[in-house]
Symmetry: C2
Subunit: 341 residues, 2 copies
DNA sequence: TTGAAAGCGCTACCAA
DNA sequence: TTGGTAGCGCTTTCAA
């Protein structure tokens, strides 16, 4: 059995109240008593039991974090942000992975609540009503870090996907590209994928270009980006491909490599996200840098603010992003462009 | 205030003992009473407070996991293994990142203990005595998932780095390579990097080859792999480079790319680890697949076994690995080989 | 099969 | 400045 506050009290000849006071520095304690108590604590290696503490104070210093899959580097990045900032406020992270299973999500929300977490952050693949309903039952701060933007009454942290996408498309156009394809996973209309698509469409239409070169993937992974492409890329003489995320872009890049389409000479390929690998592959991928770490950091800051009863700022926080111009996109050469026209 | 067991007891007209019995299914309770209690629980949405439970049962169902950095994909993989298996036994993960700071490591070991974790897994960049001493103070199961192999009295889970490295070198030799360089981070003699180096040396010497083409990096990251190389690669007419980890191999690959040395035509480059990116880049990297997920899984299994007082198997568990032969390594062409001789 | 009560380790109140 | 004590929400004896 570990040593408890009682042992300390007994050994230093004071009451447990006094011991409690010195370890919490909560009320004045005379110098000598304090010294003695500290001495005993040091000697017998007493460490307060946080569980007992939590039971009475109601402060667990625990934040529940439910993620889809840590293997996604952007998820890991978000968790890093959450954890690092949380630590600054003495909060610890209780981690659960759902692997996209909605039932698991529901289950973990309950579980974490039973474990008395003070707040929860959900990095989810979906936002759905059942989850909302479940969260409703608990009275703790909650933030969505979702790739879906369907309106929810709970706070979210994200970037302006539509505008980012619009800007990226404009950038490609400014490079001289006219026939620009969009590659994305267009399954769920509430997904950010659709926001990205719409940004693309708006930019194309504004410039009087044809926004109909759309390649639908069957998922968000590399091989699905690869599989979504076919000969029509060449047939349509596309000179640029805007992929809705970096993994899909990687797939596109590999498709080009395998089909002897040179990047960026023959075709520019750009992504979205800026996961670590984007700047490691050759050619380095032009993409939109999403501030994943910051999203995590902001999410937990928001929770900590809520916890301290500070008035919360806006509900849906949008963070800045950046277009990372790298080697996979290139100004179109005029002659070549004319050839293809 | 959340509803407690008292509310349930009052509303269903029984004692809290009885309620406790039905929620835990610990002692016989008459059918009607049980039904009634369950009904009330459902109605008012009672959820047991795990903190209170832990205080009396001493079971927190919490495993502390201290990692270096989640951004390293292998770390994330290990954590996945830990979490998934842990969940099967109802264990949750309390996550802390040290970013290589030993002080933080020590601090978190204490913190997690105060939070009453039942076991701890340390994914560390080092194994050192201070940490060992700190762990000594607590009486909970502990497993090292370290990249260092210095002997420690605590259980470890790893692979046989020496032999894996030996085998990989032999594989390169079997491909016809004779001038094989080793690229690694040889700072700390207790590091697994040295085990890998020794595996390389043994294989080379056994075959009567010169094992002195050693490139020392200044760290384990891509750019450090890149920076470790120089013209001597060409001068020595090396035909293969064995890199002590995948990131370093990536750096080597990039170095070759930038210096117009074709991989694998001019030089074979192989790595160690098989992080996700290894099979995504082109050419796909030949490497040794370390079972990161399994290492995590085995580590937590070991802890759970310890917890259930089962007799523990061997202390230092070695897991199988695989050589992944991919596109960055290639049989040497005889004519070319002769040219270079 | 049930209830009363002790107690887990701690904080916080009240009284001295 | 100190000590006594109630009580956090629960499990687990012990007795009925």
């Amino acid at each position: 059995m570990a040593v408890t506050i009682k042992d300390v009290a007994r050994l230093s000849g004071v009451s447990i109240s006094t011991v409690s006071r010195v370890i919490n520095d909560s009320k004045p304690v005379s110098k000598e008593v304090k010294r003695k108590v500290l001495e005993v604590i040091e000697e017998i290696g007493y460490k307060p039991n946080e569980i007992a503490r939590t039971l009475v104070t109601k402060k667990s210093y625990l934040i529940g974090v439910i993620v889809t899959d840590l293997a996604d580097s952007y998820v890991a990045d978000m968790v890093r942000g959450i954890e690092e900032i949380g630590k600054m406020y003495n909060y610890d992270i209780l981690l659960c992975s759902t692997y996209g299973d909605k039932e698991a999500e529901l289950k973990y929300i309950q579980l974490l609540n039973r474990k008395q977490v003070e707040g929860m952050i959900l990095i989810s693949s979906t936002i759905d009503e059942e989850v909302d309903k479940e969260i409703d039952q608990y009275d703790i701060p909650f933030v969505y870090l979702s790739r879906y933007s369907k309106s929810t009454k709970y706070p979210t942290v994200s970037i302006d996907y539509h505008f980012a996408s619009y800007e990226m498309t404009k950038y490609l156009i400014s490079l001289g590209h006219r026939k620009i394809g969009f590659v994305g996973y267009l399954e769920d209309e509430d997904s950010t994928q659709y926001e990205k698509l719409n940004g693309y469409i708006r930019a194309m239409e504004e410039t009087g270009l044809d926004p109909s070169f759309i390649y639908k993937t069957k998922g968000l992974n590399i091989h699905e980006g690869y599989d979504a492409l076919d000969n029509s890329v060449l047939d349509h003489a596309l000179t640029a491909l805007f992929c809705s995320n970096d993994k899909i872009a990687l797939g596109a890049l590999n498709y080009c490599y395998d089909n002897k389409i040179n990047t960026p000479e023959d075709i520019s390929v750009v992504g979205f996200g800026d996961i670590p690998i984007a700047s490691l592959i050759r050619p380095k991928l032009t993409t939109i840098k999403e501030p994943f770490y910051d999203m995590g950091a902001v999410a937990i800051r928001r929770i900590i603010k809520d916890l301290s009863k500070e008035v919360s700022e806006e509900k849906h926080i949008k963070l800045p992003y950046q277009i990372q111009k790298r080697d996979s996109s290139k100004k179109i050469e005029l002659e070549k462009y004319k050839d293809k026209e």
